[in-house]
């Protein structure tokens, strides 16, 4: 099938940029657990991370289908978009629910890459999946809010200027509906760190720059509130569909990378006097992963289309994320197996991509929760939790 020419063109441009960041670059970042700042800078300078920001605020005003192509292509080229993907979508809530003044203040800087908004503080030690039970408090005090509590898994907090923070403004036992009482803030971390905010990196299986963030009497101006107090949960829910579709697109890119590497290796690697790809025991798993990837890819395209048409893409975004993360993980496992012992050697990049690909059936939302969503909201089964 021929792809739309505008998407094909974005793909070529992303590919050209990614060629400057080969495997050695990523291996070194992985080894040093360093942030791939040069890569993120290059993406920013080329305007890719501002794809979704409307032109009037300095972005390219593209639809989600184009943004998805950007993220997919980054992964398919062997790079890691996780270091920067949030810069693309965290601003969504600001764009949708922020005041005109907040948008004018922040979006042009975000579009230009001078302001990094790529930290999203939602998860807490005792509430990951169960967001509504989060405990971080924001209490109004005159012209300010005072924040106390803790976030965990706040990725890229050390490499961001702003953080979108979800905190409780009304105690859980005083709200009319349980989805109320949480509020969304845009925290200027350049002022907050050392003045009530402390960031501690977490060492993880892969290089993801994720952190714990502690709030101790942090004071932020009341103008940092996005939209209305108490409606924060609703705001982030609507932003999550875009996030899921973009992450699903990244998974498709990963799956393509694994399949391409496995295919290439299976053609070249010769044992018992023939390329290993001549054996069905090798070629069938690759073919199966290809079919699984293509099916997931169609769902990702469909989800982006529903989203871009302005429809409720909840079910499609969730299904796309689940199917794509499963397709990439299956392809990752297959790719290691195809490479035999060499799949474990750093030099082949397979083990690194394998570790990176593992995340997406867990975060930003785990497969079980997607299944619960489909069961309850699409199939009408009783809520199970």
């Amino acid at each position: 099938m021929q792809e739309r020419e505008d998407l094909a063109e974005i793909r070529r441009a992303v590919r050209a940029l990614c060629e400057e960041f080969p495997g050695e670059y990523w291996r070194e970042k992985d080894r040093e657990r360093a942030y791939p700042g040069e890569f993120v800078d290059a993406l920013t300078r080329a305007g890719f991370l501002a794809a979704l920001i409307p032109e009037e605020y300095g972005g390219s005003g593209l639809k989600l289908d184009s943004a998805a192509v950007i993220m997919e292509e980054i992964q398919a080229a062997g790079c890691n978009g996780a270091a920067a993907h949030a810069q693309m979508y965290v601003m969504n809530t600001l764009l949708r629910y922020g005041s005109e003044e907040q948008k004018r203040t922040y979006l042009p800087g975000i579009a230009a890459g001078e302001l990094r908004l790529q930290a999203f503080g939602v998860s807490e030690p005792t509430s990951g999946t169960d967001t509504l039970s989060l405990k971080t408090r924001a209490v109004r005090d005159g012209d300010e809010y005072v924040i106390n509590g803790q976030k965990i898994w706040t990725s890229r907090a050390e490499h961001s200027d702003l953080m979108a923070l979800l905190a409780r403004t009304t105690p859980r036992d005083q709200v009319a509906s349980k989805t109320e009482g949480l509020s969304l803030f845009l925290v200027d971390m350049r002022k907050a760190v050392g003045n009530g905010m402390t960031i501690k990196p977490i060492r993880t299986m892969m290089n993801h720059s994720t952190t714990e963030v502690f709030f101790d009497e942090l004071r932020i101006p009341a103008s940092a509130l996005i939209g209305e107090e108490g409606k924060g949960f609703r705001y982030i829910l609507s932003g999550m569909n875009a996030e899921r579709i973009l992450i699903a697109a990244e998974c498709i890119g990963d799956a393509k990378w694994f399949i391409e590497r496995a295919t290439g290796y299976a053609k070249e690697r010769s044992v018992f006097g023939a390329p290993i790809g001549k054996n069905q025991g090798i070629q069938f798993p690759i073919a199966r992963c290809y079919a699984q990837m293509r099916a997931a890819e169609l769902m990702v395209h469909h989800a982006a289309e529903v989203y871009d048409r302005g429809g409720n893409a909840g079910a499609e975004a969730n299904m796309a994320k689940m199917l794509a993360s499963e397709a990439s993980w299956a392809a990752a496992d297959m790719c290691v197996q195809t490479h035999g012992g060499f799949g474990f050697a750093e030099e082949y990049d397979v083990e690194r991509k394998f570790r990176e690909a593992r995340l997406y059936t867990v975060a930003p939302i785990s497969t079980n929760l997607i299944l619960s969503y489909l069961a309850e909201h699409v199939l009408g089964l009783p809520r199970s939790y």
Binding site: E5, D6, A8, E9, I10, R12, A13, A16, L17, E19, E20, R45, A46, G47, F48, A50, A51, S60, L62, I70
Partner: protein, 250 residues
């Protein structure tokens, strides 16, 4: 001043070319194609000259199949202003002389101060088009450019030649061909890709310029380079000399 930059769509430099089974040429089916790297350097150099305020317009032209539009769009996204596709059938290979004739006809219409070409295309490595164009037009040429400096009505080109650099000063209009070290081409940014869609791309044919592209050369056979066979180790100089003599090399 206007700069005319011809660009060619070729097999991507990262792809290992495969020869067709019948030896008639290189297999291009399902192979990644890109802009010839030397042409990318030419586009980049033209943009830099314009950015320095020494040129107003950059026109890119490609003689090639419909798909060469992609290559032109890439050049427009890098920063060229307008494009001309001189379209030929998909499997037609246009030889350097025919390309040079088409470029001459375009140059006569467009009156560019500089025609900036890649020194060669990595598809056939002919390294002829720029030189032929200069001869056909009777214009000065600065080939294998390592640096290009436009100054008023002349251009100074440092040329990469065996054993060093040669500096030539050409009066405009002139032909320049680019070498590898001239610059590092930029990649297209997303805003520029979007802008490129609005830029004009004209479709032409060789007939529009009255050029006959029928081949003058006949390809007899295309073959893979021979695989180098393993060497042998010799114990000492005497044995080496003996081997060389036995092989009849010395």
């Amino acid at each position: 001043m206007k700069i005319l930059v011809p660009v060619k769509r070729v097999i991507d430099y990262n792809v290992k070319p495969r020869v067709k089974a019948d030896g008639s040429g290189v297999d291009l089916a399902n192979v990644k194609m890109s802009m010839n790297p030397f042409d990318e350097i030419a586009v980049e150099e033209a943009i830099r000259i314009r950015e320095a305020g020494k040129a107003e317009e950059i026109v890119v032209v490609s003689v090639g199949p419909t798909k060469a539009q992609e290559t032109l769009r890439t050049a427009l996204a890098m920063g060229a202003d307008r494009a001309i596709l001189v379209q030929v059938e998909d499997d037609v290979d246009v030889e350097p002389l025919a390309v040079a004739k088409i470029l001459k006809a375009i140059a006569e219409q467009e009156n560019p101060g500089i025609v900036m070409l890649g020194k060669q295309s990595i598809s056939d490595d002919s390294n002829q088009t720029g030189q032929m164009l200069a001869a056909l037009m009777g214009r000065p040429q600065g080939t294998f450019a390592n640096t290009v400096e436009v100054d008023g009505d002349s251009v100074t080109v440092k040329r990469e030649i065996d054993g060093g650099l040669e500096t030539v000063k050409l009066s405009l209009p002139a032909i320049v061909t680019t070498d590898l070290r001239l610059n590092e081409p930029r990649y297209a940014s997303l805003p520029n890709i979007m802008k490129a869609k609005q830029k004009p791309l004209e479709n032409k044919t060789p007939a529009d310029y009255g050029v006959d592209i029928a081949p003058r050369l006949k390809t007899l056979k295309v073959a893979e380079p021979p695989v180098r066979s393993a060497g042998i180790k010799v114990a000492d100089v005497d044995e080496l000399v003996a081997k060389i003599k036995a092989l009849g090399i010395a």
